[in-house]
Subunit: 285 residues, 2 copies
């Protein structure tokens, strides 16, 4: 079951998830100067994966960064996830889709088979359970899972997610439904194939969700460039597992302002990953 | 300003928006038998556009149906929107994206420039105003607009959208914020470049939103195959304008069970469009 594989990966390598949100701005000069940006990004991603794959539990690939480069960018998305999965690691497609009926089915097909197949995807719950239903037939096979947005890490999350709805903020209603949807899809460590995305910057909210819903595996963005550190994210864990901590820019861009960035950007990414693991470990052990 | 162009198109051609949710199942046999499905879909879309472009105000292209066919499918999405825009008609990219910060910027760039450029896109508001902010620089230029999900047409919309939050259902909070975000982007008929998506199947909700927020141009899915008819959608209009009524399967699939479907699928689409216009007109005049 893929959620058990993820649990084992966190046991073995720790909870760091590298976010391949590779914008052209993050490329070292030598790659930024190449004529075709999508192939430069693919080369960059491959070297980042090679330099970190033994240190991390998985990769999250943010599709928006590839979509912004059109059809060629999406070829690079396809090739990046294939490369990472070819290394035997787990890949999360950060797609945040959420649509109903036949449209939802098309998104499930798009991201759980064919060119863009990943192991997990992120989903947006606004349309209700219909956003999830089309993905369930894939979850039945036990080798696919989803992370549903619960409480995001941005300031305007409060616009709707924090609204008080019948004595609880909206995000707690969402967390409760996500937890209910997931109850028939639990792996051997109690975690469900249906997990949640919770931002690290709202650490009280994170603690409340963690306490209330121990069966949810949590995907936590917001570490590093977005401001949260090891202490904030430590609230996501149960005995050092049950959560992934994603970092993107702080790892991919670790080579910035280094004289030998062109040659050694992957070494700097590796060093940043090791620092991040250490930072998290000191708050969880 | 694009919202004025849309208003004028509805004045001239009526509120029908053809949804190019072209799944392989909707192709007539002769096209379904072609070896490359994406190119068969493109051929189908071109003929549907040619057969209806003088009758309708715009097209909505549902990206999920193309994404499900991988990189080749997205080439077909690109070529479909280019073909329609090349005819001088307005195109809505039904993408329902919604993400924050640099990721949101990437989605804005992806769908308001380059391969996938359309005139309007649909957005999901769950992450709050950050879902919209990255699109505003494009709206400042006045030739782009957005439709934000307010109340969807599916049954499980009630899971979250109908929750009572401080005396009002969540979707009314969303509608109010959408209306506020749009107040600086109004065209000469009072409608904003920031509109809303409201399902036709919840016709009380539709009436409530229409009454409370007269400056919102509304995009209404759910006509035809999803169950709503001319009477239900009539509540969306102010003097016959201010709303688009989308139909997909009832137009694209009008050739089903016809002996001459292979040759005349576009004629059947045209007839279905004319019937739909008549049905809506009888309830709005």
């Amino acid at each position: 079951m893929i959620i058990d594989r993820l649990f084992d990966a966190v046991e073995k390598c720790g909870p760091v998830c590298v976010g391949l949100d590779t914008s052209p701005k993050l490329l070292p000069q030598v790659l930024a100067a190449e004529p075709a940006i999508p192939s430069a990004i693919l080369e960059f991603n491959r070297r980042i994966i090679d330099a970190t794959v033994d240190l991390v539990s998985c990769y999250k690939v943010q599709i928006a960064h590839y979509e912004s480069l059109g059809v060629e960018g999406l070829s690079c998305y396809r090739d990046t996830i294939r490369y990472a999965r070819g290394k035997g690691t787990i890949v999360i497609g950060d797609i945040k889709r959420g649509d109903i009926a036949s449209t939802g089915e098309m998104y499930a097909q798009a991201h759980f088979s064919g060119d863009f197949e990943t192991d997990f995807v992120t989903l947006n719950p606004y349309v209700g359970s219909d956003a999830i239903t089309p993905f369930l037939p894939y979850l039945e096979q036990k080798e696919k899972g989803v992370f549903i947005l619960i409480r995001t890490s941005n300031i305007s999350a409060e616009d709707f997610q924090d609204l008080h709805c019948i004595n609880q903020p909206l995000f707690m209603h969402v967390a409760r439904r996500v937890s209910e949807w997931g109850k028939d899809y639990r792996g051997s460590h109690g975690y469900s194939l249906i997990g949640g995305v919770v931002g690290a910057t709202g650490s009280q909210e994170l603690a409340m969700i963690r306490r209330s819903f121990p069966g949810l595996f949590l995907l936590i963005p917001g570490y590093g460039a977005q401001g949260a550190g090891g202490q904030e994210v430590s609230k996501a864990f149960i005995h050092g597992n049950g959560a992934l901590i994603n970092a993107s820019r702080s790892i991919l861009g670790a080579h910035k302002n280094r004289a030998d960035a062109d040659r050694r950007f992957d070494d700097y990414a590796r060093e940043a990953t090791l620092r991040m693991k250490k930072d998290i470990r000191q708050w969880t052990r």
